[in-house]
Symmetry: C2
Subunit: 157 residues, 2 copies
């Protein structure tokens, strides 16, 4: 996949993050891609679905699995790439491993809640049986600013 394409898909993830923010969610977005096509895209929906597990990454992984039912293949064998605007948490990182995502692209780091470079360092553990190729930093500043602005407004309320 060329760099231009990666930027194109991460821009869509940023758009999803913005929409999530407008809906009162922490502005994080994710996109799954197969054969250079978007399969699923979503922002966080924890508030709107009253479910703390509805992280953007989980939603797009679930939707991708559902999409693949008709094709009779498992996401585990489908060579899916995932783009997300923030370093995945521990839950999402392990979900990404369970789905055998091929390439993981994430924009900003998350020292407080991340599970890739921080905390559990999920992909470095012996209990992790698939590690994606990891690409960090595309659209980092844009994602960081979205999150900063969101929490600044939240604190003022």
């Amino acid at each position: 996949m060329e760099n231009n394409n990666q930027k194109f898909f991460m821009d869509i993830a940023i758009e999803e993050a913005k929409i999530a923010g407008l809906n009162g969610e922490v502005p994080i977005g994710a996109v799954t891609v197969m054969n250079n096509e978007v399969i699923a895209k979503s922002g966080n929906k924890m508030q709107n679905l009253n479910n703390p597990l509805m992280h953007a990454e989980i939603i797009v992984l679930n939707e991708t699995s559902e999409f693949l039912i008709n094709k009779g293949i498992s996401i585990r064998h489908a060579k899916v790439d995932l783009f997300t605007t923030l370093e995945p948490c521990t839950m999402c990182a392990y979900a990404i491993s369970l789905c055998r995502i091929r390439n993981l692209y994430y924009a900003a780091d998350d020292p407080k809640g991340g599970g890739v470079n921080f905390g559990s360092k999920v992909f470095e553990q012996g209990t992790c049986h698939h590690k994606p190729n990891i690409h960090r930093g595309l659209n980092r500043k844009i994602s960081e600013n979205l999150l900063k602005e969101f929490f600044k407004v939240l604190r003022k309320k």
Copy 2:
């Protein structure tokens, strides 16, 4: 909660594990409990839903959140206990933390895939912001035997 009740709920988790096994799933079952009542129960459904994220624990957490929508409260504030027949994986352990489960009961240990005592040791990390009370070993042998029998049959196929 008395010991008899804990045994009662873990027995239900074992029943769910058995049903999962009969449906071609790895035999693992889970139950959520609130005010001494079962809210959700399920076995693994990865094969049947074509989704590697459909671990029994995730299913019952999702169903519990859904159940609570009508009551207008979040699972995070509902004092929910979770019973599962195998040590939760890294994804499920962090999901349990995100849902602020009060008590986690699990039957058998999982050195190869567990995320509580093995691998990521999710609840011990600085990026984990809620740790449930953990109770291990109830129905351990029954759960271990279910899993052993399942994989023995699988290897013969």
